[in-house]
Symmetry: C2
Subunit: 334 residues, 2 copies
């Protein structure tokens, strides 16, 4: 592999994303991407007693599905990289505790999926692993309960709020395969512009997305037009608009080929999701369900996937802290 510029790593023998899997909740099943997901659940519990246990089951079954689809024996998967939004990442730990694969817990808030893919692809490219598994999950109910208010209160949500995606996305990355390939990664820095509104995560994370986007272009010498699609994770409508405008002020016009998973996954008018989707599973399921298939079918051949995370908790907001953002990018190409 080769280091480009300040933050980017370009792979000489790019790892292949062999398979992906996605399971989503009932709200996502009513959204515009429903047909692309492997499984849509009828309710938020999936037979479990708590939302947390349901989330664990979702990531567990998604990972099993990704492994089965890959055609690679689970015993041939060397390492697993996974994390989620729940305190101490219990969805991943409990969901994957029977997996019997060496496990790296990862926390990048909603950037976790791409963070896992960054780490996993370095392991594969370097020969530290032949096959790795990357996964994440989130759940609307467990996230609302933990980060905001008890759902039973029925609190009103401001128009800038986003809707945490219920679901899980998983990918098997291998040294052997014919693509789509992870050709480069641009891991991001923590960027904190002082935004404190936990109901406006898109605005809080947008500066980090912009920083990683511009760094990726600067490091690689590429222009936005290099990519068929530039996709952020869960900036939603507000964050997407901020990034589009700020990128233009920096000399990068991304209007024609840029979109955000939080914008794509729900129907804003019909689904009452305000600024769009969010959560680790927003980019996890949208990539694993929709974009991966577009790449496989060669409808898209070069995409830049930038997952964004807000590195805060409910207590940090109560203590008056602002919201640090982070964004990790990977180039995926046929």
């Amino acid at each position: 592999m080769k280091r480009l510029g300040t933050q980017t790593i370009q792979f000489d023998n790019p790892p292949t994303i062999v398979s992906t899997a996605s399971i989503v909740g009932p709200k996502e099943a009513q959204g515009p991407l429903a047909k692309y997901f492997d499984q849509c659940l009828d309710d938020e519990f999936w037979g479990e007693k708590t939302w947390e246990k349901a989330e664990s089951k979702i990531i567990k079954e998604t990972v099993n599905m990704a492994v089965t689809k890959s055609g690679i024996a689970a015993t041939d998967i060397d390492y697993c990289f996974a994390g989620d939004l729940l305190n101490q990442c219990i969805s991943s730990s409990f969901g994957l505790r029977e997996l019997n694969i060496p496990f790296f817990g990862v926390f990048g808030a909603c950037s976790t999926f791409v963070e896992s893919l960054c780490l996993g692809s370095v392991f594969v490219e370097s020969g530290a692993a032949t096959n790795v598994l990357c996964a994440t999950s989130s759940h609307f109910c467990s996230a609302e309960k933990q980060f905001r208010f008890p759902l039973e209160l029925g609190n009103q949500r401001p128009q800038s709020a986003q809707w945490t995606v219920t679901g899980s996305g998983a990918a098997v990355v291998s040294a052997n395969g014919t693509g789509p390939f992870i050709t480069a990664i641009t891991p991001g820095k923590i960027v904190d512009m002082g935004i404190k509104d936990a109901n406006n995560m898109g605005a809080a994370m947008a500066p980090a997305a912009l920083d990683t986007l511009i760094t990726h272009f600067r490091d690689t010498g590429r222009k936005p037009s290099y990519y068929d699609a530039i996709i952020t994770g869960d900036l939603g409508y507000i964050g997407k608009e901020i990034v589009t405008e700020l990128a233009e002020t920096k000399g990068y016009n991304i209007k024609s080929n840029y979109n955000d998973c939080g914008v794509l996954i729900f129907d804003k008018e019909k689904q009452d999701t305000h600024s769009g989707g969010s959560g680790c599973a927003c980019v996890g399921t949208t990539f694993s369900g929709y974009f991966f298939k577009q790449l496989q079918e060669k409808k898209l051949n070069k995409i830049l996937l930038i997952a964004t995370g807000a590195l805060m908790n409910s207590m940090s907001s109560q203590q008056g802290e602002s919201i640090p953002g982070i964004a990790h990018a990977i180039s995926i190409e046929n």
Copy 2:
């Protein structure tokens, strides 16, 4: 690098741990390792308004100290790997948000320090990075508040309970240097033997430590006598005894060269810490403060460092779940 057995990676050009730094709280300052730490704080707040902000300050200053000691410009450090015990790892995110180094958030509970070193050393050995920073923190007060009871209640603690170390450990790992070298890593699997007592973490994590220990020996063909010291992270007195006994039943006698950071960091009789120290900073500070200096002074030349983590949160216990454990090992040699 070369894969050995099922889980181990051996490095051909082993990365050097160039520098470490450690800052601890007032209780650790009264313990037997006090003189090895770079800085001992007088109180748990260090001028901050909350324990969480104090913990962020501790990791921030520890990282700055490790970078200064390394003689490497912060701008030449390619990636940072860090995490902690607080919900959504806010100690690391907030403490390191001004670092301006691409950031990988890591969550392995109390195994985080060695997990970071595993990831960082693969990045360095593979050429993905020349220099990386690995760090973690924990804080007795923020951990008690989050995982157990408000400190103000003055709850009694059972004899099996451990005392979360207040402090931070950080290390700079580089492709260039004359050792101590990270020569191999054995990342661990999640192991859950059904233990549910959150006041007996040592017993919950011991099976994971044993699994990684035996796997390391099996993968490398080494015997316990290969190492001058085998060190676990925070099993404490109870977990240490379990691992010692179980290892013997598996044919590995580690009685003469095995110890645990949770046993070493406090004086059991004088400090009322029951089963010993715990927390991410237990192995973080004990390695960065004590063992790294022993390696530098050639008093020890080969150590196996196994950090252990309990992958639960307070809610998972309330929901009747058992405590999954994990342990990651690294060989450090002169």
